[in-house]
């Protein structure tokens, strides 16, 4: 097989172990008592406990963090996809004044450092009364997710032959009807991938989410950083909270596993 290189099993095996080992350690710790964590070095929990998880699921200040995070992540995904879809179609099919510059401008916003925007966003969303709501974070994350969604969807729309549009219009489809009835079903997998990426980048981002919330909409990542420093070092609880943040990603990834690479290539493989 030409595809392979010598020793590939060993290389791949070592790489996967390297990826999994730190995650294993976190999971391992999350099932230990703090006493066991600090006093001995054990490769698996000798006195397994689910107390850490129980605490998160019963303490409102903990589990509301997850709900808050999910709220703005879902909001952001919906906004990003719905504005990006028509734009992706336009970029894929038409040439118009300033299209290349606009595309570049979008790309440059995907790359803009969150640190630059933290303070101005804080001012902006305070001024319009959205501070500490899921809307503030959802809109703020649009700055990198909308361009990303446009990029990915443009790649997928370009994969749909132009003849399909033309036939539909000849058959008397109006533009909105063609869009919803024909185009959207055709690029359903692309929409799935784009949604997945919006979900992912909104889920992993911390700096903006933390800056734009204080009490009511505090995301789980901020709950983690604050509670830990206030309560001394509750390692078991911290590890359990960390493990729970990995689960949503691990779940959605299964559904898009065949498209992950294409999505990361911004639909351009």
């Amino acid at each position: 097989m030409m595809h392979s290189i010598p020793g590939r099993r060993l290389i791949l095996g070592l790489f996967l172990v390297f990826l999994l080992l730190p995650i294993y350690w976190l999971v391992n710790m999350s099932f230990k008592t703090n006493y066991e964590i600090v006093s001995t070095m054990t490769l698996w929990p000798h006195e397994p406990t689910i107390a850490n998880y129980a605490r998160i699921f019963t303490d409102q200040s903990w589990y509301s963090g997850y709900i808050n995070s999910l709220k703005y992540v879902v909001l952001n995904t919906v906004i990003s996809i719905s504005v990006a879809l028509p734009a992706a179609y336009a970029f894929s099919r038409y040439r118009f004044l300033g299209d290349k510059h606009l595309f570049f401008w979008l790309l440059s916003n995907r790359m803009a450092p969150a640190a630059v925007y933290a303070l101005p966003f804080f001012n902006l969303y305070s001024a319009i009364g959205l501070f500490d709501t899921p809307w503030a974070v959802a809109l703020a994350h649009c700055i990198f997710n909308v361009p990303l969604a446009v990029w990915i969807l443009e790649g997928f729309v370009s994969g749909v032959p132009r003849e399909i549009d033309e036939t539909a219009f000849l058959d008397g489809y109006s533009f909105p009807r063609f869009f919803m009835k024909i185009l959207v079903p055709l690029i359903a997998s692309g929409i799935g991938v784009a949604a997945f990426f919006c979900f992912m980048f909104s889920w992993v981002e911390l700096l903006l989410a933390r800056t734009l919330t204080s009490v009511d909409a505090k995301p789980i990542s901020a709950v983690m950083t604050r509670t830990v420093s206030a309560a001394g070092m509750d390692w078991g609880l911290l590890a359990a909270a960390g493990v729970l943040t990995i689960i949503p990603g691990a779940l959605v990834i299964w559904f898009v596993r065949n498209y992950i690479a294409r999505g990361f290539a911004l639909g351009r493989v």
Binding site: S221, G249, A265
Partner: protein, 300 residues
């Protein structure tokens, strides 16, 4: 498939334009405004012209010194992680199994680090590297290394770099894998008939096919490492001393820590400008590469 000229397409792009303009242009205007002024609190502002910029670009001042130190540090960091992640990603992609359930399993495991919130990535490595409770730190101490990322510059750097390799190499590998998968089997069969060596196959077939995705990988990795904030902040807090204070960390320190709005704004603008220039270079190269291979593919 040539794209037709249609100015009405602007109506389709308008929602995106408005959303991104609202969250990018509006805040940026605030930044430009701050960058020209000085404040002593109480919402009192004084005109300062280009004073902050002069100070920022002069390495002999305090602000300029900090800016350039964090800039070089950050560029060095980006160079190191690119030098590790790109070759490693290619090797891993070439090692991927070709078919069967193991492909899906590998893909899912590899994507896992990419989906972990960045502060949790920091937390994982913070714990993993501690000599008292972390496996890595414990093992390193057992074999006699005096590893401590909190007090030793070199150890802190090593930790941050290994963490980034752990976090992002999969991205490069996944992209390369996607590029490799798009090579038709016939190419390999032809190479086999010609009796081409493995190296020749890699150079003549696989590398050219990966060009495009590699470019995207390098662009994404450069940009994301150039604006890295959360992960090193959680692990080292920018220390020991300032040894892992990258540009974003320095910026947040000035903006939200000291509330020096003028200085922070000037730094933001220069930072953004560097990013836009690098972006533009990549974009031009990408557009040209795309135009050569697929003349019909249009924008990018």
């Amino acid at each position: 498939m040539d794209r037709t000229v249609n100015q009405k397409a602007w109506f389709l792009v308008l929602p995106v334009f408005l959303v991104v303009a609202f969250s990018a242009v509006l805040p940026l205007m605030t930044v430009v405004n701050y960058s020209m002024q000085d404040t002593f609190g109480n919402n009192q502002f004084f005109w300062n012209g280009v004073g902050w910029f002069k100070e920022l670009l002069d390495p002999s001042t305090d602000l300029g010194g900090r800016f350039f130190a964090s800039l070089w540090r950050n560029l060095f960091f980006s160079a190191v992680i690119l030098a590790i992640e790109v070759p490693l990603g290619i090797v891993v992609a070439l090692s991927m199994p070709r078919r069967g359930w193991s492909v899906a399993a590998c893909l899912v495991i590899m994507a896992l680090p990419l989906l972990i919130p960045w502060n949790v990535v920091g937390t994982i490595w913070q714990i993993f590297g501690r000599p008292d409770i972390g496996l890595l730190g414990y093992v390193l101490h057992k074999i006699g290394l005096n590893y401590n990322y909190v007090s030793n510059d070199l150890d802190a750097w090593a930790t941050v770099i290994v963490m980034d390799v752990w976090h992002w190499t999969s991205l490069v590998a996944l992209l390369c894998y996607a590029g490799l998968k798009s090579i038709p089997d016939a190419y390999y069969q032809a190479a086999q008939i010609d009796g081409a060596s493995r190296w020749a196959v890699f150079k003549a077939i696989q590398l050219p096919k990966m060009n495009r995705v590699l470019l995207i990988a390098v662009l994404l990795r450069f940009m994301d490492s150039f604006m890295i904030y959360t992960e090193p902040f959680v692990v080292t807090g920018g220390g020991p001393g300032n040894s892992t204070t990258f540009v974003s960390i320095e910026l947040v320190k000035i903006a939200l820590g000291q509330f020096d709005l003028g200085k922070a704004a000037a730094l933001s603008l220069v930072y953004n400008l560097i990013i836009i220039i690098v972006c533009w270079v990549f974009y031009t190269v990408m557009t040209n590469a795309g135009a050569e291979r697929q003349p019909s593919k249009g924008v990018a």
